[in-house]
């Protein structure tokens, strides 16, 4: 079978004809993505008995569609009620939720959907074209390089706490310390577990996410009748389709922003174990660092929403590349896909594209078609979804708490995780009331254990010599880029201030 334009055209038409699998999977994915704890991976595991008896092609399309749409679904509660459905959407509420509070929830959802769709489509096409090259990225990114990638994400702590850097650092480093709870990676020595066996595996992510965002927010918003201002309520009530089109226009106008932030997601997605959370934090941090208006980030700035949403959807195609090309799953969902493929007798690796090109390329085509269909099925719903913000806080807060606590229970089936979510909720409430950023704590909790894992690997290789962190060429280039990224915002700000002063002076002279 020759792989040419006609092959891809046939594959496209054939995949579109599978809409009856894709569309229900999209809606299922949106639901499981929106509830913390119910990731695509969990759902595929629950539905594994059905997936295994399906035809291998139908099973793969179902899993891919569920995976892509759950990524998009996670952004919906993050925007509307400040609850990221997954860790990959943890950077979405930074600007999405302020937009919703201003009564621009519909616009924010449209921005999120369009940037997710464009990011997903673009990275799928690039993945198809550059698969052999991208598959090698994983070989070059060792623990030393990954330490620097983690630092890119961690440096976001200082950026989002721009109003009070010291408080931001205290919160972020406290998060890193909390993230270090658990047995150490080499000798399994328990550290900071307070005697709880449930913490030996480290701090579970979903209870931390639920507590810091959902529960603390629920305690906070009961101060008012609604999360919206009077003006915001009027805006949501009277909003027509124009708000959706405005969101689409804003995103299309920033096509370059979508492009480069989704590419960050694609490259990070290719690295096994990295994932959407790192990609979205790094994309947000980079977007802010090189923005002309960094001061607008965190206040409901569209670019602050586009960056994480494009990046976390860029991750989806990236994660599947190492699975299909070299047989190494890049994440939990990819690992489950590997199980299904092997059960069906399909061997992944370079030969997949020779022996079963319709399956190898078909996975990416399924992703492409899913994103296309999502644009038409989900975008019109933004108008109705945004009405959630009109619900009184007296109803919303208890329902949010009840359902998200269930979400914190689901990944491990421990009631302990619900108590943990409550404790994080109290911590989050105190943080919000006293001017500490909960996102800074969460970044620490998410990236802390990963950072430690990579750093330990690097130090083990060098017998504890810290200079190993500067021993690789790619790593050194990344160090330079990190320094530039950290220094750039203030340098750009000074340059703009000088230019503005010069303009005022010249106008005065004129």
């Amino acid at each position: 079978m020759s792989v040419d334009a006609a092959f891809f055209a046939d594959l496209f038409v054939h995949t579109v004809s599978m809409w009856w699998v894709i569309i229900p999977s999209i809606f299922l994915g949106l639901i499981v993505g929106a509830i913390p704890g119910f990731s695509a991976a969990n759902t595929i595991i629950v539905l594994l008995p059905f997936t295994l008896v399906m035809d291998v092609e139908v099973g793969l399309i179902f899993m891919v569609a569920l995976y892509c749409s759950s990524r998009m679904g996670a952004g919906i509660p993050a925007i509307l009620v400040n609850i990221p459905g997954t860790a990959g959407a943890a950077a979405t509420p930074l600007d999405g939720y302020p937009m919703a509070r201003q009564g621009r929830g519909q616009q924010a959802l449209a921005i999120s959907f369009v940037s997710s769709t464009l990011g997903g489509l673009l990275t799928t096409v690039i993945a198809l074209a550059a698969m052999p090259i991208l598959a090698r990225v994983g070989f070059y990114m060792h623990s030393v390089e990954m330490v620097v990638v983690m630092l890119f994400g961690i440096s976001l702590i200082a950026s989002i706490a721009a109003r009070d850097t010291l408080k931001g650092l205290v919160a972020g480093v406290f998060g890193l310390m909390i993230g270090s709870i658990g047995a150490d990676h080499v000798y399994a020595t328990p550290r900071g577990t307070m005697g709880f066996l449930e913490l030996y595996d480290g701090i579970p992510l979903i209870p931390a996410l639920v507590g810091l965002f959902a529960i603390s927010e629920a305690f906070l918003v009961i101060e008012g009748e609604s999360i919206l201002s009077e003006h915001g309520r009027d805006r949501v009530r009277t909003a027509g389709w124009a708000e959706t089109f405005e969101g689409v226009r804003i995103t299309l106008q920033r096509w370059w922003h979508v492009t480069w932030t989704s590419l960050i997601g694609l490259v990070i997605g290719v690295i096994p174990g990295a994932g959407a959370a790192i990609a979205s934090f790094v994309a947000y941090q980079q977007s802010r660092a090189f923005s002309r208006t960094p001061e607008l980030y965190g206040t409901g700035h569209p670019e602050g929403l586009i960056a994480p949403e494009s990046a976390n959807n860029g991750v989806t195609s990236g994660t599947l590349i190492p699975l299909l090309v070299i047989g190494i799953p890049g994440g939990a969902t990819a690992a489950i896909m590997l199980v299904v493929l092997q059960y069906q007798g399909v061997n992944v690796g370079p030969r997949l594209f020779i022996e079963h090109p319709e399956l190898g390329y078909g996975v990416f085509m399924a992703m492409f078609v899913t994103y296309l269909l999502m644009a038409f099925t989900i975008l019109p719903l933004s108008r109705y979804m945004s009405r959630v913000t009109l619900v009184s806080t007296a109803y919303m807060s208890p329902i949010v708490i009840a359902f998200t606590l269930v979400g914190s229970f689901v990944p491990r089936d421990y009631l302990f995780d619900m108590y943990l979510a409550f404790a994080f909720g109290v911590l989050g409430y105190i943080a919000r009331k006293t001017g500490y950023h909960v996102a800074a704590i969460l970044i620490g909790v998410i990236l802390g254990p990963l950072m430690e894992q990579y750093m330990l690997r690097a130090l083990k290789m060098s017998d504890g010599d810290m200079m190993v962190l500067f021993s690789s060429n790619i790593g050194n280039v990344l160090w330079v880029l990190l320094v530039i990224t950290i220094a750039a915002p203030s340098a750009l700000q000074q340059r703009r201030a000088r230019r503005a002063a010069r303009t005022v002076f010249e106008e005065g002279e004129g």
Binding site: V32, I35, F38, T43, V46, L166, K167, L169, V170, V173, F174, L176, M177, I178, S180, I181, D184, H185, V186, Y187, T189, P190, R191, G192, T193, I215, F219, I222, S392, T393, A394, Y395, S397, P398, I399, I401, A402, F403, L405, V406, F409, V410, D413, L415, F422, G425, V426, L427, I430, A431, K433, T434, G435, M451, E452, M455, L456, L459, K460, G464
Partner: protein, 172 residues
């Protein structure tokens, strides 16, 4: 002008007592964490010493800033910011208590009953008893939706109670 200044009440210092809670918690936790790794292999210590020392340094700088502001009289150590607005402090504390109670009761009465009870009690607390029947209906609807989604559809192993036992034969 001088009269105008006289009539203005003196600006009260910002109450920063609440701002100290996170640094105090963080410091306490860092010290506790370091005690748990004191006799551990270096692989368990390296991250803790690195992160712990940065955290303690940040807290020290923060403490200096707070002390300086206190000496200048611009801050006080009250907790007004943390508990504001005082008018709903009682409601908020009861709501937090209901949340904790929900987790405790869940184990004994099962998901459906506990969820209905928690949501209904919380709505009555936050919304008043004006529309108690409608609110009961809304709470029932939420509990039924939760049961359908989490237990019937996704088969999660949430704690079971009488309702779950009653409906178990009807599940596929």
């Amino acid at each position: 002008m001088a009269d105008q200044n006289k009539s203005e009440p003196p600006a009260s210092p910002r109450q920063a007592g609440g701002e100290l809670i996170i640094p105090v918690l963080a410091f306490g936790f860092a010290v506790y964490y370091l005690t748990t790794i004191w006799n551990s292999p270096w692989t368990a210590q390296v991250n803790a010493f690195l992160v712990g020392s940065i955290l303690i340094a940040c807290i020290a700088v923060f403490a200096v800033r707070i002390a300086r502001d206190r000496l200048a009289g611009t801050i006080g150590f009250g907790f007004a910011d943390l508990v504001a607005p005082k008018s709903i402090l009682g409601k908020r504390l009861i709501f937090a208590g209901l949340t904790l109670g929900y987790i405790i009761v869940l184990e004994f009465v099962g998901f459906s009953l506990a969820t209905f009870g928690f949501i209904y009690a919380s709505i009555l607390l936050l919304h008043g008893r004006r529309r108690w029947l409608v609110d009961a209906g809304a709470s029932l609807l939420a509990a039924v939706a939760g049961y359908t989604l989490f237990i019937a559809a996704f088969g999660t192993r949430l704690p079971s109670g009488p309702i779950e036992a009653l409906l178990k034969p009807f599940l596929p």
